[in-house]
């Protein structure tokens, strides 16, 4: 394609390392100049139209590539070859957003530490943990240990394993395992059969809860597996509830979500939405 040949001519790899740094400097400087120029030259209306235009083109590219007729072997259209490089570029751009959340965390805990607010030692623990994982995580990565790893591990790798498997994973697992207690307590206190619908919900929950576990299968194991009454074995009943009662209900919900999501995607693509992101901040 002429456009891809033009791009290859415009953006060839740098011939030497020195040329690389020169090209990088010019690209950086040029981008800053462009951004400053856009900021100064475009007023609020111009900025909004630029955002609308970029949103539209981004959606059009991916949507059009899917719907535009294909030909040849392998089947493709004039946009197909661009899907992969554009997608890879977008993954890199998106990965750089990692700093947004990290910056917010640093801001909150940094302030707590600097102002010695109550519980400031927790913020200190946060920073120590972050930097420990950062240092030893990168150190472990750059050790480039062979596969399988040796029996005697280098000490940075050991520290990393202690941080990961000794603290990070167990802390997360333990935090989420607390939900077992909360659901037991909540089910006992709040699940009341005040209406017919609640009774139906409870009956379905009991069938599924007992049908999914070996105890439920054992309870009704006296019913022969090859008889018509096998339908009433708890594991069969539980599977029937999930497969033939739950499935059509979930599918009805899926259809509702599908239509709603399509409408929402169209509105976002065409910038018809109003809200905090979509309108200019005062």
């Amino acid at each position: 394609m002429w456009f891809s040949r033009l791009l290859q001519r415009l953006f060839p790899p740098a011939p030497t390392p020195a040329a690389l740094y020169l090209y990088l400097a010019f690209a950086l400087a040029g981008s800053i100049v462009l951004i400053v120029a856009l900021h100064r030259l475009l007023g609020p209306r111009g900025r909004r139209w630029l955002i609308v235009f970029v949103t539209f083109i981004a959606g059009l590219f991916f949507g059009l590539e899917y719907f535009y007729p294909v030909h040849g072997d392998p089947e493709k259209n004039f946009l197909t070859d661009w899907i992969e490089p554009v997608s890879v570029m977008l993954t890199v751009v998106g990965a750089l957003t990692v700093g947004l959340g990290i910056y917010s965390l640093f801001q909150v805990h940094g302030r707590a530490l600097a102002q010695r607010r109550p519980g400031w030692h927790n913020s200190l623990a946060f920073f120590l943990a972050t930097f420990a994982m950062l240092v030893f995580g990168l150190w472990e990565h750059y050790l480039h240990l062979p596969q399988p790893p040796p029996d005697v591990l280098p000490w940075p790798k050991v520290v990393y394993e202690i941080l990961f498997n000794g603290l990070f994973a167990p802390l997360q697992a333990a935090t989420f395992s607390l939900l077992a207690f909360y659901i037991a307590s909540a089910a006992y206190r709040a699940f009341r059969v005040r209406t017919g619908e609640a009774t139906l919900m409870m009956a379905a929950a009991f069938i599924v809860m007992l049908g999914q576990v070996p105890f439920g299968a054992w309870l009704t194991s006296f019913i022969p597996a090859d008889s018509p009454a096998a339908f009433f074995r708890l594991e069969m009943l539980g599977e029937w509830v999930l497969r033939w009662l739950n499935t059509p209900a979930q599918r009805g919900i899926i259809f509702g979500i599908a239509v709603g999501a399509l409408a929402m995607s169209l509105r976002i693509w065409l910038s018809l939405e109003r809200g905090t992101f979509f309108s200019e901040q005062s």
Binding site: A173, E197, M201, R251
Partner: protein, 226 residues
Amino acid sequence: MSPDLFILWAAAIATLGIYTILYRENPISRLFEHIFVGLSAGYLIVATWALNLEGKWWNPMIHDRKWYWIFAPIVGALFYFIYSRRLSWLARLVMGLFFGVGAGTFFRQFFPLFAPQITACFKPLDYQAGMGFQSFLFEIVLHHWIFAIILFTVLSYFFFSLPHEGRFGRGLGRSALLGRWFLMIAFGAMFGNTVMARISLFIGRMQFLLQDWLGSIIPWFAGRGL
């Protein structure tokens, strides 16, 4: 002392530290929560650099001298203007890019994802030749008829375009009521599975505490239940 023992004890202390919250909110559990958030933030940075940016951006840009990759961090840096009131429109520019990408990819996914859902709704509802009474009862009546009735009534529950008045509207209203009952069955099934999932998480932790940690101190505990 072997590193595995360090890991075991660190994990046990961390787990028990979190579990102290079951009695009441206390400084120990709060400390461990902050340590967890810190480790999570650190690991996110490590994984993003080591498994994404280094291979897909830094190496092509520096080692393969593909200088145009510099535009990726420049575009990505626009996100950070969200913190500036004057320049926040630049962040909205790149967010608009990603919203557009999201919309475009949803259009691509729509038909492959949902069209088979529509075709799978059509199941045989009549007697098939060669089918015995038992097959007809279990496959057609208990499965396909019930499937069709539930699907229709649940869809009518979400149909808000017509009021539930008049002869047709009242019929629609009754269908919607039935749909709500069937939705309750689905939610009950979801609740049952939710209980199963949550309890599993706790059992997993207790397996570690009893079999792995206590088992390293008192051999009788090791391998119990396995």
